[in-house]
């Protein structure tokens, strides 16, 4: 199997908690070939860790969003995010909708989760950085 298909699946399950369909896997593979995003040894190590679990992917992404938001590993995630948005299979995850007035409770939860993810992420990033230096 094309290794990019596996990446596409992992990223989709992290971003949307859904499965990537074949079309989006193919588009991701084509994007990776065209954009040829290259990794340093440090980024390679980050990526390896992210690919080992969606939990680590979320934490490292959150940590980098605060400290190194243009890191190349985030570019891969961002590319997949754009691909998912531009697909009729995932439209419901991006278009606006009418929310109940209690939805802010979920947003508070998401905000807190995001902070926790960032704290764990910063720790993982620190360890990986130390290992690479």
């Amino acid at each position: 199997m094309n290794p990019y298909y596996h990446e596409a699946s992992r990223i989709t399950s992290y971003l949307l908690s859904m499965n990537a369909q074949q079309k989006e896997q193919e588009v991701y593979a084509s994007a990776m070939e065209k954009l040829s995003i290259s990794f340093s040894a440090y980024e390679q190590a980050l990526w390896k860790s992210m690919m080992s679990s969606t939990f680590k992917m979320a934490c490292i992404d959150a940590g980098l969003a605060l400290t190194d938001s243009t890191n190349n590993v985030r570019r891969k995630l961002f590319t997949m995010l754009a691909i998912l948005e531009a697909s009729p299979n995932y439209t419901a995850c991006f278009l606006s909708k009418e929310y109940s007035k209690w939805y802010f409770l979920k947003l508070i939860f998401v905000g807190m989760r995001s902070i926790c993810r960032a704290m764990i992420g910063l720790l993982i990033i620190k360890i990986i950085k130390q290992r690479c230096s």
């Binding site: 243009t70 985030r74 590319t79 995010l81 697909s87 979920k106």
Partner: protein, 538 residues
Amino acid sequence: MQLNYDYIVVGSGATGAIAANALAESGVNVAVLDVGMEDEKYHSLIPNKDFISIRKEDKNQEKYFLGNDFEGIAWDTNRVGSQLTPPRNFLIQLADKFAPFQSDTFKPMESMAKGGLGGGWGLGCYVFSKPELDAVGLNYHEMQEAYQAVVDHIGVSGAQDDASPYCLANLKNVHPASSIENNLGGILTAYNKNKQALNKKNVFVGRTGLAVITKDKESRKALQYKDMDFWSDKDMSAYRSWMTIEQLQSKNNFSYHKNCLVLKFKETESGVQVFVKRTDTAEEQIFTCKKLILSPGVLGTARIVIRSFDYKKEQLPIICNPYCYIPCIQWRMLGKQIEQQKGSFSQLMLFSDEQKNNFDVSMASLYSYRSLLLFKLIKETPLNYADARIIMQYLQSSFTIAGIHHPERPSSTKFIRLKKDDLQFTGDVLTGEYILSAAEEDLNLKREQKIKWALKKLGCQPLKTIYTPHGGSIHYAGTLPFGNNNEKFTISNNGKLGGTKNVFVADGSGFNYLPAKGLTLTLMANAYNVAKKALKNE
């Protein structure tokens, strides 16, 4: 190929199209010389449907939303023109090659396309007030007739309200304003409630004058509210300069030559020689005409004029409106569903007229956000993408973007220079510097604070102010300032280039001042006047 014409117009953008139209209507023989890039990739892929239907149904939407080479997934944050989507990218394609520009402090956008930047402009139309026209160097009375002629040609919609003195003033034949979307409609309601407090501080809000028709006009359809305006022009409701050129192409006295990069001109006994380097074959050609009208955009004209006068001028002044934008949260719109039928344009304007004299006014265009896609907003948050997606999906209906322009004047730290460089296609490269003085920056900051105060009064909470590099407003002027001594590197008030007999300039090169209001309607009106004066040989 015919190489000899009565009139040659350089460029098919906002000004070139109007000048060519005015000339062709009078019956003279006109040619437009243009580089003329066109979109060959995307036009046919985009369905003639509304944004929501496309998003839900079209299995190939990534091809144009993201682009064949995924150029729509911009990772570079400081790019000027991020509003140019992949189907509009042809507008700036090859500009680096045919119009190279190098600077650390000035990042202008130039177009080599059929229709120029006028093929992707935001359509905001503003009549300059008398004090503004005086400062620019244009005749108020002559401009009134020209504004009307342009409005009749391109089709403009708008309303009579508090913004009218700053937008469409007393223009006639204006189409009714488009129906306002919920996001901006809420702001207008808030304005009407807080009008007294805002007006007391000289802040006025009202509907934007837009070059968008709301009634059918010849082959162009009234606005269909498909919200695909950043991506395609299927119904031709929004005016794009290429529409005028295509209309002209059916006339016998009009010719359009693409792949023609004009390098310079030389006046002869009988008229003007125009030196062209073909962009397809790099072959050189000489066209001749009785009169030459330059309208390749301010930077394009500067290049041609400097070369034609043998690089005799060290540097030319330039002005460009300082620009920043402020994303805001509009509380009353939180968690709402955005209506299916809407437009993508700025439908509402906010003017801060400090002296209440319609001069040195700062302006904010208000936009809602949807059709440029959510992933671009998600990228701007300091959160991980998965959580940011959930939060931004909720917030998106409440986003209002205020794009702020400030008025601008020339100074010794705002200039361009043309340097010889044999490695370039044109044999030279334009360089430049654009630095505001501390006093100018301070004044703009104060103006922004006032606008932020007004936004809060309107129920919009400003999040952060994002500054684009100088050049980001895409409003350029002032390289060959108006003056009446027939000196080289100036333009006289009949539009004639100083030091020449038969060369006219129809773009914004002569403007001595830039009001914050978008300049394009005024550019087009001036181009109309210049063409009329060239015909009369004034």
